[in-house]
Subunit: 595 residues, 2 copies
């Protein structure tokens, strides 16, 4: 983890924050018990962004969201008295005695006993809880009372088991400072406005339909425009990086997936088979086996490598229906996929070039914060979750780690999350409002090319197996467009905007001139719409704003006389009176530069 | 059939040719019997381009292809003696007596008896056959001995039933004139050289793979380039014709296809279902139901019509494995699909605009000969093969016929070949070498929009059901690229050619300059390849020719000194010494104009 993004100072900070959140869970339990003396606290951990605590309340005395303010107030009232927080190891019997009215705590004590671990009680103020530790030493001094907040109440089962008692969970947020809490809340409010499911509907980007099936979006014309602009970007970038495009069927025979290893290792994520011509056909869950077949379709020599085969292929994967979520978790995935076949010597350059492509895209989309999650295998799961090649795992993981370190790329290493055929990198990015998304992947495959018998003839005449890099820098259309909707809040840059220009005649007298402008723009392949309605000028402008078109061209009497038009920008307001040529040039440049 | 392409003179000509072919089948039987007296003739009809006759030969005396010349000679020798050919109705017993050594003819006579039809024998020269009639009156005078030819021998079962005796079939070609026969043979020789399966392999356009499955091509990089250029063409043409693009999943639930009527009417052509989440999912065989769902996704008013939704959607259809043929008959079809939703009043204009789009494409591809096959329903098959709406069938068929007649488009009318939801037009085109292909379709649908409950609010506030036009002017990538391979014989125009330019340094000294030229061209998105091999200049030129790139840029010592390059065209030979700017401009223009 030498060069990884998490420095030891980072780790210490994050541990302090975790301790604080854990301490607040205790404080929450203390406050709840003061207001609801019959409540039975169960467990209360620190979580990402805050903490929670699960309680059993008497059925007639369960708090609701509107009671949270009182509990929060009580927490703030108690906090100054929590001068220090310390733990003591106690005898089993003493612990049982302390919690003799709380069957949940007694059950937890039993567990500790079985594991033969020490039983510790932590006390702050007048509240004592069964706990392993990990708190602030001086809560009153360490915790800013404005840096936390209770957010909501939810149901939860004891031990997450739905056959057991249903408990009441109270969630809270907590950050280092009050300012951070405020910023996070502001981001979430903004994120809600930008929710891709809401904007996706309002902006006619995608739709689901019961007869088509859950998790399978229909791309409406506006969403299709975006998908095609993204594909054009990928095609240009990949053409200049020496990729070749291919196209492959969406199905293949069972024998293909037995060969690739998807059937033993990945069947749970695949759609069920079709019984056809006495055999089974499967929808593809990945494009790689098809690309391997294209590699194999012609004999290859070292002169053909690196061979980079790219396809925007649509894959189908099973996801539990309860886990589907807008465009973020779907069953149909149209991927910016490619497979790079290369020698070991070429690996570092190719892998670096892929990283460069990521950075190029991040720049185009104004993604300033990102991190690479480097997922490695778990030696204990070899032959089960991972192909059983311990040496090759070590070698390729070392190879990837070295490129990441050498290129000074921010990354964290995560064990036991690799693909079944090799280590992988997931790229996490932060949107303009600071929300985190996992978008793209970059994987090394040392296993499947061998299973497919892929070889190239090397300079010395020997037949060798290439390495394969699987990469998808723009991820899937589904997730990436979902991300972009939130990232831009629907205000897409000119090149990407479904409607690029609204042409608005001030009144009837300019309608024909406006129509000609629209037609000229469309001849330049610009997505221009004409407002030929009878609405008032004010209404036309309001409608244009609602359309989120990056530009409005307004044509009034004076413009017509001057042989010009007035250009207005969605983001920058009025730009001025320009000739059509000037506008044409401006648009062409802005689109070409994707600025 | 008023304005259709088949005038009554055409029909008469085609009948005369059919009679001639039928007569030649008799002549073939007569010649065979003279050489092989033990042969038993069975049946011998006229077919497209010629005729055949099936015989039973004694196992040790079966002719092979090399014996055909002798049979053909004997036919020519007999022909002058066939001064006239006439039929006589005979009694059953007399007919049985005549054929008492031929169980096949006896079986045919039984059939005639069962149907209570007259038994007729036709005689020419000294040969008499059981026949219904339809021959030349004077074979010797009517048949040019050089206008026919025997081509090959094949196996065939008696009555096409593989449990019955295997017979020997002799095929022949026959045309009006010797010149036509020669032209046809020349075309077939050329077609063989241009065979899309052969060129598709040689030019690395597509490949099949056993693990993927028959009928499902993998598009190699060269084929993918062509598919994408075709898509760009369609996208441009459709953008300017006011289409909007959509994208839809490749699968849908059973409920979708019950609603659309595909399951009752089209199930045989669909892939079998996947059992998923307690229901069935099907691969789509057509894009229409998905497009209807997009229509339905938002409320529509008359202002939204005509709505034109376009998609290059990949469909999957079952075809019997024995009927699969290269790219011409496949199981995966990527279609230049669109659905136009319009009012009845808008129908004629929209339908005409679709026809105009066909004609525009024909011009781009230099397709000079075409005809539209207008397929109508069969009233006897209503409710079985066709949706049971007799009035609507009549109305829409009249509407289509009127547009075809009014626009003066060449068409023929074919009963009982419509789609289940309405009349359709298949477009037949002839390739540069005169071979016929069925490429595109244009269909009217009055039934399915209603089944899907699609409506728009009309001016008067009433909810009405739109008509739907299904159209695919560029057909499927599979068939269209197959056609183009043969049409161009692999020598594609610049815009479509997988490799557009070969850059060839005369010797080592110009390699760097050549590389820079290649890189500049690629920056213009031109598919330029550099020959950086150590081959001799002559070999480099030969390789460039094999690549079928439309242009070669040659850089020699003198070019380098002059700051120019030498341009050579695949089709027109050397063009001359030009500056890079001139070349760049020339290519850009040629590509833009698709000339």
């Amino acid at each position: 983890m030498n060069n990884s993004a998490r420095s030891s100072a980072d780790v210490q900070n994050s541990r302090a924050l975790e301790y604080k959140r854990h301490t607040l869970a205790h404080l929450l339990a203390a406050a709840v018990l003061e207001i609801y003396p019959d409540a039975k606290p169960t467990i209360g951990p620190a979580i990402d962004k805050g903490f929670y605590y699960d309680f059993e309340f008497p059925a007639d005395k369960r708090p609701t969201d509107k009671d949270l303010k009182d509990v929060e107030k009580r927490m703030r009232k108690l906090l100054p008295s929590w001068k220090e927080m310390s733990g003591t190891e106690v005898k089993l019997e003493a612990a049982k005695e302390h919690f003799n009215h709380n069957p949940y705590k007694l059950e937890l004590i039993e567990d500790i006993m079985v594991k033969n671990e020490p039983v510790t009680l932590y006390t702050a103020g007048s509240f004592t809880d069964l706990c392993r530790g990990g708190h602030c030493d001086s809560p009153a001094a360490d915790i800013d009372p404005d840096s936390f907040k209770l957010t909501r109440i939810a149901g939860a089962y004891w031990r997450g088991d739905e056959t057991k008692t249903q408990l009441t969970r109270i969630y809270g947020l907590a950050f280092e400072t009050a300012a951070e809490l405020k910023a996070y809340e502001e981001m979430m409010r903004e994120a809600e406005k930008r929710d891709h499911r809401k904007l996706g509907k309002d902006m006619d980007i995608f739709e689901f339909d019961d007869d088509v099936g859950p998790g399978m979006p229909l791309w409406l014309p506006n969403g299709t425009t975006m998908a095609e602009e993204l594909e054009n970007l990928a095609k240009e970038a990949e053409f200049s990086a020496g990729y070749q495009r291919v196209r492959t069927p969406h199905i293949a025979k069972q024998s293909m997936y037995l060969k690739s290893g998807h059937l033993p290792y990945y069947e749970d994520s695949m759609f069920p088979p079709m019984e056809y011509e006495g055999g089974k056909y499967y929808l593809k869950a990945m494009n790689c086996p098809h690309h391997h077949k294209i590699f194999a379709a012609r004999p290859k020599s070292y002169r053909d490598l690196p061979l980079r085969l790219a396809e925007y292929g649509t894959c189908y994967r099973h996801e539990k229906s309860g886990e589907l979520f807008g465009l973020m978790r779907v069953r149909m995935l149209e991927m910016n996929d490619a497979h790079i076949y290369c020698t070991e010597e070429q690996f570092a350059d190719e892998f670096r070039a892929v990283n460069d492509m990521y950075l190029k895209y991040f720049k185009i989309f104004g993604i300033e914060k990102y991190i690479m999650r480097f997922s490695t295998h778990d030696p204990k799961r070899l032959g089960d979750k991972y192909v059983n090649e311990p040496e090759l795992w070590k070698k390729t993981e070392d190879m990837v780690r070295k490129v990441l370190v050498d290129s000074n790329i921010k990354f964290i290493e995560v064990p036991n999350e690799a693909a079944f055929y090799g280590p992988k990198i997931d790229v996490q990015v932060w949107s303009a409002i600071g929300r985190e998304f996992t978008l793209a992947t970059n994987q090394v495959d040392f296993a499947v090319p061998k299973r497919f018998g892929l070889t190239y003839t090397d300079k010395d005449g020997a037949e060798k197996t290439p390495l394969c890099i699987h990469r998808a820098p723009l991820g899937t259309h589904e997730r990436f467009i979902g991300f972009l909707i939130e990232h831009y809040g629907g205000n897409f840059p000119l090149w990407l905007a479904p409607i690029q220009v609204k042409v608005i005649p001030v009144s009837e007298g300019q309608l024909e001139a406006a129509r000609k402008i629209q037609e000229s723009l469309r001849r330049d392949m610009i997505r221009a719409e004409l407002d030929d309605s009878n609405d008032s000028f004010g209404k036309k402008i309001r409608n244009a704003k609602t359309s989120r078109a990056p530009y409005f061209i307004i044509i009034g009497e004076k413009d017509l006389t001057a042989g010009k038009v007035t250009l207005e920008s969605r983001d920058k307001g009025q730009i001025g009176q320009l000739s059509f040529d000037e506008i044409q040039k401006r648009f062409a440049e802005e689109i070409k530069n994707r600025s």
